[in-house]
């Protein structure tokens, strides 16, 4: 059953992937709970207020942050706004076509967004400029440049790294109008959520699936944790079910994996 990027991995290859995993190995030689190499760079787009580029193996994602201001949401008048947007652009894979965002990129943005928001990555209550009228708006734009699987983890990592590198322009009120003050300060980051994504293939759970593994997977499960070990987002996505035991196992693997991945952006476990 296919549920990955809708790719055209041959049935023979899918079978080889499944056979390898049932013997505890993967086609690229990794163990079931091993990530590919992770590289994180920040400050890759000078015009953005914050930016990063993340590689997980061949998967490549750029995140750009822009901080502006605008009216708050009706249901949270005293709080700032964070908007996540994700685009899987056509050059990222032969299987992606230009067009409006499909459910895969919408889900990607929403799962990343939930992780950031639930972890309280910024203090939303300290983002007012004019009380109840104007607040800071943080735009997180995720751009997938090469889709080689596990977009959620790469995008969460990119978003967090970019936010941590963000220098916030300070807006002030002059004659009742919001204007840039010309001053800047580092954006205050309160937590560092990390997502760990699993694919279930042939009944086994693997972390950090490649796109071919995603084509072969039965279902996918993402677990996002903050640095205190609290779980801040979960997303099961894929056409088959999970047992309670599988969910428990994934939660415990995620808890042990997250610090190792976090160290790629914080520089220490």
């Amino acid at each position: 059953m296919k549920s990955g990027r809708g790719g055209f991995t041959s049935r023979l290859k899918l079978k080889r992937i499944q056979e390898a995993i049932s013997s505890g190995k993967r086609l690229d030689g990794r163990g079931l709970e091993d990530y590919r190499d992770i590289k994180v760079k920040t400050g890759v787009i000078e015009k953005a207020d914050g930016s990063s580029e993340v590689f997980i193996g061949d998967t490549r994602v750029i995140a750009g942050i822009e901080i502006s201001y605008g009216p708050p949401f009706e249901d949270t008048p005293g709080e700032g706004i964070l908007i996540c947007n994700a685009e899987i652009v056509p050059l990222a894979s032969p299987d992606i076509e230009p067009g409006p965002p499909d459910e895969v990129s919408i889900e990607l943005a929403r799962v990343v967004d939930r992780g950031l928001r639930s972890a309280g990555i910024v203090d939303f209550s300290k983002m007012e400029i004019i009380p109840k009228k104007t607040v800071y708006v943080i735009n997180v734009d995720l751009f997938v440049l090469n889709h080689a699987g596990n977009l959620i983890d790469a995008s969460t990592l990119a978003a967090v790294a970019a936010l941590r590198s963000t220098i916030k322009p300070i807006f002030e009120v002059r004659n009742g109008e919001v204007v840039p003050s010309g001053r800047k300060e580092p954006l205050e980051i309160r937590s560092t959520p990390i997502s760990v994504t699993f694919s279930k293939i042939g009944g086994a759970l693997i972390v950090d699936p490649t796109s071919e593994e995603e084509d072969a997977m039965e279902t996918r499960l993402t677990i996002t944790l903050d640095e205190k070990g609290n779980v801040c987002a979960i997303q099961k996505s894929g056409p088959e079910a999970l047992t309670l035991e599988e969910v428990r196992k994934a939660i415990s693997i995620a808890a042990s994996k997250a610090p190792e991945i976090r160290s790629k952006i914080t520089g220490g476990i």
Binding site: S118, T219, V231, K236, P239, E240, A241, T243, L244
Partner: protein, 239 residues
């Protein structure tokens, strides 16, 4: 903090209590199967069409049927009114709803065909994705589509520091965490699992177990709804 047993929620429920659920099957004359659910103040109607020939034809798959879902909220379902255009949220729920129902259906029996499930939220009060899935499972059964099991869904979460079952809109908005879950009780299969908010691993475990218990209770209501329809038919035939 009062003990969990004494404590009552904003709507008077205990921590482990579901809202009142009413499910009725076979409510839409034109659909092959349908169901209407009221779960607290949620009001949702689901129609199932199919298995039927796939249109457009290029989407048909020669070796399997396809399940298509649409989760949609009526403009008047929330206060303030919402735009009738599908939102990003609607698109995500549409997708997870399909993934929640798909494990119950023998899709490989329906090559070149589609089964279309349409959920319309008429009034929303928290937990609409779960109530939609619960009603959709009944509607699929009502359409005579063989199922591996009924899919029941409800949420658990954290509100005012306590783990609670089946969050209403207020608890969802102002609570600390929300975990929607769908479950096939006879197979022990979790088909929907999402979470947002903040939970320790222990709280998470409690939430998952509580949501599963909730699903088991909802499953009984689903069965009753299906039985009732056939009892009514039997009586009618008897006369």
């Amino acid at each position: 903090m009062s003990s969990d047993e004494e404590w009552r929620r904003v709507d008077g429920r205990r921590w482990n209590e579901l809202r009142e659920i009413r499910i009725e099957s076979g409510v839409l004359p034109n659909a092959d199967g349908s169901a209407y659910i009221e779960m607290g103040r949620n009001k949702i109607i689901v129609g199932v069409y199919g298995p039927r020939e796939m249109h457009p034809k290029h989407l048909a798959r020669p070796h399997t049927g396809i399940l298509r879902c649409r989760y949609h909220m009526a403009p008047f379902s929330t206060e303030p009114r919402r735009s009738p255009a599908p939102s990003r949220r609607d698109m995500e729920i549409t997708m997870v709803m399909r993934y929640a129902l798909e494990p119950a259906i023998f899709l490989e029996r329906y090559p070149r065909s589609t089964i279309d499930v349409y959920a319309e939220v008429l009034q929303a009060d928290g937990g609409t994705r779960c109530a939609s899935i619960t009603a959709a499972a009944v509607a699929l059964a009502d359409a005579g589509i063989p199922l591996k099991d009924l899919v029941a869904a409800c949420s658990a979460g954290k509100y005012e520091g306590r783990i609670v079952l089946d969050l209403n809109d207020h608890e969802d908005k102002y609570g600390e965490a929300d975990l929607p879950l769908a479950y096939m009780p006879n197979l022990g299969s979790i088909t929907l699992l999402q979470m947002d908010g903040l939970l320790s691993p222990e709280e998470l475990e409690r939430c998952i177990n509580l949501a599963i218990e909730g699903c088991k209770k909802i499953y009984e209501v689903q069965r009753e709804a299906l039985k009732r329809k056939y009892e009514v038919k039997k009586e009618a035939e008897g006369n």
